[in-house]
């Protein structure tokens, strides 16, 4: 799993040297930003189900045709799977906030997503809509502190860009 510390250690190991001052400074920089990340992760974990539900509702209200016969959400089972996927994405964003990098989203969410959605003929637009709704709905200080919100939104934007 890629994170600042593992990247630093991998580079030091490749060179066969002990962690240098530069390496320690890089880790220190990561630690300084960690408080905001962990706050965002905690708030997101606490409200994961509510956030997922709101995002899914927003997507189905904007693209109401999705529930018509023959579309991607024409049965309750399929609708539930859409909510489940959104829950997975929120969980992966929670992981990214914990790790401090996009590793979890890259490895478990984005890698292969395009191919899967294409082979299942699922539209990615509604996912983008749901995630955009979450991004614009979240506000500071109601949900979390401004710095934490900034971290949260940057991962949402990363995912939106990957799915667009």
């Amino acid at each position: 799993m890629k994170s600042v510390v593992t990247t630093v250690v991998t580079a030091a190991d490749a060179a066969g040297r002990f962690p240098s001052q530069n390496d320690l400074e890089a880790v220190q920089g990561n630690i300084q930003r960690a408080a905001a990340r962990l706050e965002a992760a905690e708030k997101l974990a606490a409200g994961l189900d509510a956030v997922t539900r709101e995002a899914g509702d927003a997507c189905f209200s904007k693209y109401s045709y999705l529930k018509q016969a023959g579309e991607a959400g024409d049965s309750q089972v399929k609708v539930d799977k859409c909510y489940r996927d959104l829950g997975h994405y929120m969980r992966l964003i929670n992981y990214c906030l914990v790790v401090g990098g996009t590793g979890p989203l890259d490895e478990w969410g984005i890698a292969g997503a395009r191919e899967v959605y294409r082979s299942l003929s699922l539209p990615t637009g509604p996912y983008v809509e749901a995630l955009t709704y979450t991004r614009d709905r979240a506000c500071a200080p109601r949900d979390m502190s401004p710095q934490a919100l900034n971290e949260f939104k940057s991962y949402l934007d990363y995912l939106i860009n990957a799915l667009s």
């Binding site: 799993m1 962690p19 880790v27 408080a35 994961l48 929670n94 914990v98 590793g103 979890p104």
Partner: protein
């Protein structure tokens, strides 16, 4: 390879649960004691060559047969290999201490080390003793419990802010014990 953060993510993913609550408490303590941890890594890296040579010297003093003809540290070529291995082990322990997780030590250093030593005829008991001496000096440097009496001419005190670093000393000690356990 994992660090303290990705370790909690991987175990949460196995349960399909977000990381929250009690999991975050452990990570917060990593963040809170981040500077202590960096000082601890620095204590090891800055004194690496001293720690290693001291450990190998101690190992040989306790068992002088190692440097007599036929011993495993005779001739210089094998002595050099011994010093090099000590430094490699210490290096991976410093990585593990920086990451706050033993996976880098396990994956890249300990996996297969015992089998390699047996195949090469390296006495694992002596190697374990050298690691134990490295543990004693490294933990003394991290916890600043070393004294001029035990350090002799090589006495060194790291000039860091005084504070409680018992948890880090215990963590570093556990990594050394892990090496001893893996090769014996």
């Amino acid at each position: 390879m994992l660090d303290a953060f990705s370790r909690s993510v991987v175990s949460a993913d196995a349960k399909t649960a977000p990381v929250g609550g009690s999991d975050l408490a452990g990570l917060r303590s990593y963040v809170r004691d981040g500077n202590k941890r960096l000082d601890a890594v620095n204590a090891i890296t800055s004194n690496a060559s001293c720690i290693v040579s001291d450990a190998v010297t101690g190992m040989i003093c306790e068992n002088t047969g190692l440097i007599q003809a036929g011993g495993n540290c005779y001739p210089n070529r094998r002595m050099a290999a011994c010093l090099r291995d000590g430094e490699i082990v210490l290096r991976y322990i410093s990585y593990a201490l920086l990451a706050g997780d033993a996976s880098v030590l396990d994956d890249r250093c300990l996996n297969g080390l015992k089998e390699t030593y047996i195949a090469l005829g390296v006495p694992t008991q002596s190697a374990g003793r050298a690691v134990a001496i490295m543990k004693a000096s490294a933990t003394a440097l991290i916890g600043e419990t070393n004294s001029p009496a035990s350090g002799g001419k090589r006495f060194r005190k790291m000039e860091t802010t005084q504070g409680d670093c018992a948890a880090l000393v215990a963590e570093a000690g556990a990594y050394f014990d892990r090496v001893v356990g893996a090769i014996s």
